[in-house]
């Protein structure tokens, strides 16, 4: 578990989340032509921010 990402999720620190997830974005941009790269990247960033903002990270789960 990436502790920096976990902390960022908890604090909804979007900049850190996006920074930590850059490898994921790049992975899904493989093969995209240079002229389209920026547009695709922005769409992925927006999707990520939307998913994070909708998720309630405060919900609890009982282990025992």
């Amino acid at each position: 578990m990436n502790e920096t990402l976990l902390r960022a999720f908890k604090e909804e620190d979007t900049d850190t989340i996006l920074n930590e997830l850059l490898p994921l974005f790049y992975k899904h941009m493989k093969g995209v032509s240079p002229s389209m790269r920026e547009e695709v990247f922005q769409e992925l960033v927006l999707t990520c921010v939307q998913v994070v903002s909708k998720y309630d990270f405060q919900q609890t789960h009982q282990f025992l």
């Binding site: 578990m1 999720f9 995209v32 695709v40 999707t47 998913v51 998720y55 919900q59 282990f63 025992l64």
Partner: protein, 171 residues
């Protein structure tokens, strides 16, 4: 709890216990039944589940968004290429008509902004608009006159009108 969630939970708990700290807390709790340790364990488990679920949601959404955006951009590119091809085909074909002079437009258009916008069109675009709107020909007749397909006439007209609209909006 849904069946899907039920099947995931033991797997998540197993994964959670793979971390040495968590395994140690769990073992100690089993021996001591310390409520503070239980709270710590549940808190760490909540973080673990939320982290895993959220990351999985992000990964899935990113994957499908990437496919969707690529497909949309590819379609847009194909449409642009297709329009360029029509325009090129039209430009390559010989027409018996003489090039239009902007003076000819000046005789029928009083609006100076519109006249300026028309002057930015290619010769072919001007011809098609002239035949359609000034001579009042049907697209099929324009097609015959220019000896091109009906789609080529339609595309050229569409592009010409879009260009005029843009020029007027910018002006």
């Amino acid at each position: 709890m849904r069946r899907e969630e039920k099947s995931k939970t033991p797997n998540l708990k197993r994964q959670f216990l793979k971390t040495l700290d968590h395994q140690a807390w769990h073992d100690t709790y089993q021996q001591t039944k310390d409520p503070i340790l239980l709270e710590k364990l549940n808190s760490a488990y909540s973080d673990f589940v939320n982290y895993t679920v959220l990351l999985s949601l992000i990964q899935t959404n990113i994957k499908y968004k990437s496919l969707h955006v690529r497909e949309r951009l590819y379609q847009n590119t194909q449409e642009l290429v297709s329009e360029e091809k029509w325009e090129y085909t039209l430009d390559q074909q010989q027409s018996p008509l003489q090039p239009l002079k902007i003076d000819q437009w000046g005789a029928v258009l009083e609006n100076e902004e519109l006249l300026n916008a028309v002057s930015t069109l290619t010769e072919r675009q001007q011809h098609v608009l002239w035949l359609l709107f000034i001579d009042g020909l049907q697209a099929t007749e324009v097609r015959k006159q220019l000896d091109v397909s009906i789609q080529a006439v339609s595309k050229t007209k569409q592009r010409a009108l879009t260009k005029i609209k843009q020029q007027l909006q910018e002006g």
